[in-house]
Symmetry: C2
Subunit: 180 residues, 2 copies
Amino acid sequence: MKLSYRSQVLPSDPGRIKALVQKTGFFIPEEIRIARELAEEHLAKGKESGYFFLFAEERQGDGVDAVVLNIAASNIAAVNMVAYACYGPIPGTRAGFDLYWIAVDPACQDRGLGRELLRLVEQGVRCMGGARLYIDTSSREQYTPTRIFYERCGYRQEAHLPDFYAPGDGKIIFCKLLPH
Amino acid sequence: MKLSYRSQVLPSDPGRIKALVQKTGFFIPEEIRIARELAEEHLAKGKESGYFFLFAEERQGDGVDAVVLNIAASNIAAVNMVAYACYGPIPGTRAGFDLYWIAVDPACQDRGLGRELLRLVEQGVRCMGGARLYIDTSSREQYTPTRIFYERCGYRQEAHLPDFYAPGDGKIIFCKLLPH
């Protein structure tokens, strides 16, 4: 797979994010709407939105093998968004960041793509002065692979809020201290 | 003290909130800016903002003794905002609400005003279909009276995230299950 990573948000991204997130079959309509809206918020307000993105894209039909950061917008139609992450600083904290979203196309899972994307997000957070990255996830059975994934990436469970999302659906808060 | 409570947000409120929050001597400029902005967000978007308010005001120089809800805007100049709270539904949860702000004028503290305001907020949350109210606060020494206040109001500590706000300044998450 020829992968490119890009942090710049383009006008076509909200629609592409929606399609990607839907493909995972993991999220309810309200969550999908929120995923889309965060990108729209970034397009409207830029960095002031507090939402930052990283997209992993597969180029089609060219010979580029290298990981290219911030590929030109004109080539966007020829690429397929296979994963993305959304993160940002937590207001009122000195160096806390939240990972709001991470999603990988089911057709591209089990290739270490999520792990690499998360590593690049952590790098981005460090560059922006962040020292801790928080991830909220659900305590539900369906999210067991997700929780195992975060643990393998070095995240530690810091809290469990029972019934937070709904009865029987608690919130687990993971955190990773990012190395200097 | 002749108190009125009002939930409607008026154009003068962001400025009044700023003045009230400053008076407590408890918050840093960034927090004061956020407090103000949440009211501006409500003025711009209404309920869609997700931020709801409750103001406690002291009328000056009239004989009204009763608690009056939603007093007329024309009388606003003659009242003094002595306490306020800001709360709203937590996106992605079925019945979770967050108390974002509660502040009481130092000149009016120790009269049960904060407790009464919080009780009315809980009533408002119930009316909007909420079943749980969360409150985040700091683990710092300075916030010990605040934490004791929440505990006395029936809130239970659900989580502690060390160093969340800054080194040595953790986040405590309180929660109260609201009776039907």
